[in-house]
């Protein structure tokens, strides 16, 4: 895998040098980074499966999702329109992945003490990070586009398949440099600590804009018309990268093309190249400054406000069954509320869920209350479920940390019930992320749709908790803050989010079905679900101390 990546990098040796990058340094850097990515880390809390099988799993699952995208896109008659839709889906998916998974990699400061004292230019460092990320999102893009590639190859034959995959490569590169460009523009306005805080909000904003546009634009187009329509070029098409890429692929059919399509194809090649030149040559200094800002451990000492901690520690008395569970709760509250990388991985999904909510409810701003009241039954239950679902993303991030070595404490302490730490942390995250959302939506929902939806709101909340707990068991979640944030895992996290989303759709159906039952029966079901939650929590606690449990702590001894 590393050799393949290096072969591809060597193809671009001359353009890389044109960018003002020191090529020998760049090659050894990328070689080292990739070599390390593919060597399994000997963490005491071993990740399930090898890195190769993780990649294979990602390849298969993303390919399956890509097949669905491809079939949907190619239900449209016109090739160029099909490809435009397909590339839009690919670019949006990749942007979301870059924002939620790879922002932390882009601005990773963990190896500052290794790299910054060496004579490495900012240009070399920026290109290194971009190419390193490109390798992973390129892999995801390849998997997503494989099925469509086969459809295109079979249907159109010839050189088109080659150009199609080049276009896929260009789409990932454009996605990456566009996102980085936005981050670096923000860094020009604000510096240092403030940038790190702002980046989290920028992630949410970008996520909302990209995902919102992606969801809303197709709704403005009549689906029936799409089947027979051919794409015409408007002024805005020149600002729409998926259309450029589609035009480039169409060009390879050697059919007569008009000047606008030639121009679009030209943009598909020109923009990624000039964008890279501009980014590397003109904006890398800002990137270097962002990295250097993270080299200061002596930031201003601040007294952390303890109000929130006091509140949560009062509540954990009621929700936790043991002192160890309370310790797990307190650790999760303190760490997640201060860990920027945790926030950067979790918050964009809240943005996406807001967009989802808006799309589902389709509010008419001129007559908001009436339009919301008139919503179909399914959409309102969809809305209620999806709001709480965003909390599950936070749970998925619980095992990850920059300091997994600190996990020695789990072994050094005279502890047997490690599972209590996990359930305590899970309860804390549920309390912090799911309960506030339900408190927020309960009153407006009852006002809009009447008190009859109350049992469904409760059921949605409990159902979301149940889904999270099932996911924890099936994913064999590790103890909190014991896993390093590894590159090869990034795609898996996105994938898990997608798979959890499928479970969520089942929950929507279930909640909707209960709306046909009497409220009391729904309350009874809620009671059963609550009982099931208690049993599953007990199972998780037991699994962690039982030799038959999914993880033991034996390997940590090797580290001590």
């Amino acid at each position: 895998m590393v050799q393949v990546a290096l072969f591809l990098v060597r193809l671009f040796k001359t353009p890389i040098q044109w960018l003002g990058v020191d090529y020998p340094q760049f090659e050894i850097l990328i070689r080292t980074k990739l070599t390390m990515d593919f060597r399994s880390s000997p963490t005491g809390f071993q990740i399930s499966g090898s890195k190769k099988s993780t990649l294979l799993y990602q390849l298969l699952t993303f390919s399956l999702i890509g097949l669905l995208f491809g079939v949907a896109a190619f239900s449209v008659g016109d090739l160029i329109l099909s490809l435009t839709i397909f590339f839009t889906v690919i670019m949006v998916s990749l942007t979301m992945t870059v924002i939620s998974e790879f922002t932390t990699v882009l601005f990773d400061q963990r190896d500052n003490y290794i790299l910054l004292p060496r004579p490495i230019s900012n240009r070399t460092l920026l290109l290194l990070r971009l190419v390193h990320i490109q390798f992973y999102i390129g892999f995801i893009a390849l998997a997503l586009s494989l099925a469509t590639g086969i459809i295109v190859a079979v249907k159109y034959k010839g050189i088109i398949i080659l150009i199609y995959f080049i276009a896929i490569g260009l789409s990932t590169w454009m996605t990456l440099i566009f996102t980085t460009f936005i981050y670096l523009m923000i860094s020009k306005v604000v510096n240092g600590e403030r940038f790190k805080d702002l980046i989290t909000y920028a992630q949410i904003a970008i996520a909302i804009i990209i995902f919102g546009s992606y969801q809303i634009i197709p709704r403005l187009i009549d689906a029936a018309v799409l089947k027979n329509v051919t794409m015409s070029v408007h002024w805005w098409t020149y600002f729409f990268p998926p259309a450029w890429l589609a035009a480039l692929v169409k060009l390879s059919l050697f059919t007569p093309v008009t000047t606008p399509f030639l121009l679009l194809s030209f943009l598909a090649v020109f923009v990624p190249i000039t964008g890279a030149v501009f980014l590397i040559r003109s904006m890398s200094k800002g990137f270097g400054n962002i990295l250097a800002d993270g080299s200061s451990e002596t930031v201003s000492p601040k007294n952390i406000r303890t109000l929130n901690t006091r509140l949560t520690s009062r509540i954990n008395k009621f929700l936790c069954i043991s002192e160890i569970e309370k310790a797990g709760w307190n650790l999760a509250v303190a760490t997640t509320s201060r860990d920027r990388k945790f926030k950067q991985s979790v918050y964009p999904f809240f943005g996406i869920m807001i967009v989802f909510g808006v799309i589902i409810l389709k509010p008419d701003l001129t007559n908001l209350a009436v339009s919301l009241q008139e919503n179909g039954e399914l959409s309102k239950y969809f809305f209620i479920v999806i709001c709480g679902f965003s909390g599950s993303t936070a749970i998925l991030q619980l095992p990850y940390t920059d300091t997994p070595e600190a996990a020695w404490i789990y072994k050094a302490l005279p502890l047997k019930e490690h599972g209590h730490l996990l359930t305590g942390a899970v309860k804390a995250i549920l309390f912090m992320f799911i309960i506030p959302i339900y408190l927020l939506i309960t009153i407006p929902s009852i006002l809009l749709w009447g008190s009859s939806v109350f049992p469904q709101i409760i059921l949605s909340g409990l159902g979301n908790v149940l889904l999270v707990l099932i996911a924890i068991i099936f994913q064999k979640m590790e103890l909190p803050f014991t896993q390093v944030r590894e590159m090869h895992q990034k795609g898996t996290n996105s994938l898990r989010a997608i798979l959890n989303m499928i479970l969520m759709f089942l929950l929507v159906g279930f909640v909707y079905a209960t709306s046909f039952l009497s409220g009391w029966i729904t309350i009874l079901i809620c009671g059963l679900v609550a009982g099931l939650i208690v049993l599953i929590l007990r199972f998780i606690r037991k699994s962690w101390i039982s030799p038959k449990g999914w993880v033991t702590l034996r390997n940590i001894e090797e580290r001590l």
Binding site: R39, P42, L116, P117, T298, S300
Partner: protein, 262 residues
């Protein structure tokens, strides 16, 4: 000024802004000549590591003027970095690599050719008694073994100035002697050693010049003999006197007479 290798004028560095502003360096002035072993000492949070990070180009944002080899650090840091070495305080290395791979990686970043690199890496590994571990992954190494690799990586480019931040941390007694001898030998070859440590006896023994900083300013600067006659008998006593912790024994007593006993 003449023959100075490092010139620092009114060096200031602060973190944060407004009410949160924390001024770590409040105006450091130093002139350092080639071949000196500088023991740069001070209490925790005094600004030692910040000074070193600035001089190594890790923190490019600072106030004041720093020239190294007559070059301005703000504008010519790339050129300066080619001729300096750095041994960080934290165990910052890519420990999924082997020592051979890591040293080769660092050497390539300095533009060393393959033959020179292999020869230097081989010599250093042999000097530190690490040849038999040269192809083992470093994630299995002890703290001391990793520290040896950090020192090797810090000098593999044959730098003219070597900055070391707590280089003896985690090393056994024999290796401490080895490193002390190495530093003295490097200084004899004309290399400048800029050395931060909390090990007062080591600093006292090997340093040509001791610079003590406290709260971001230099409070003492001279040879140990010069400082000793003025203030105290040992560097440890001098340190305690100048940094305001004369009451260590009282504090310990208080701890054991107070809450710790309950």
């Amino acid at each position: 000024m003449e023959n100075s290798q490092i010139t620092i004028r009114n060096l200031k560095k602060s973190y944060g802004k407004g009410d949160d502003k924390n001024e770590v360096l409040k105006g450091i002035n130093l002139i350092i000549h080639p071949g000196q072993i500088i023991g740069y000492i001070g209490p925790n949070g005094a600004g030692k590591s910040t000074t070193v990070k600035i001089l190594c180009g890790i923190l490019p944002d600072f106030a004041g003027e720093v020239t190294i080899f007559g070059k301005d650090l703000k504008t010519e840091s790339m050129e300066i970095k080619k001729h300096i070495g750095y041994v960080p305080e934290t165990g910052a290395l890519y420990d999924l690599l082997t020592p051979n791979e890591y040293l080769s990686f660092i050497g390539t970043l300095y533009g060393l050719d393959k033959d020179k690199l292999e020869s230097r890496a081989g010599n250093l590994l042999s000097f530190f008694g690490m040849e038999k571990h040269s192809d083992q992954r470093m994630d299995t190494f002890s703290k001391g073994m990793k520290q040896k690799i950090l020192i090797m990586a810090g000098i593999i480019n044959n730098p003219d100035i070597i900055f070391l931040d707590e280089p003896l941390s985690g090393l056994d007694a024999n290796t401490v002697i080895l490193v002390k001898d190495l530093l003295i030998r490097l200084a004899k070859d004309g290399k400048t050693i800029f050395y931060c440590s909390h090990l007062m006896d080591v600093v006292e023994k090997i340093s040509d010049r001791i610079i003590l900083i406290n709260n971001g300013i230099v409070v003492a600067d001279g040879t140990f003999e010069e400082l000793k006659t003025e203030k105290a008998g040992t560097l440890e006593m001098l340190f305690a006197q100048l940094t305001g912790r004369k009451d260590n024994e009282i504090n310990t007593e208080n701890l054991f007479n107070g809450s710790h006993k309950n």
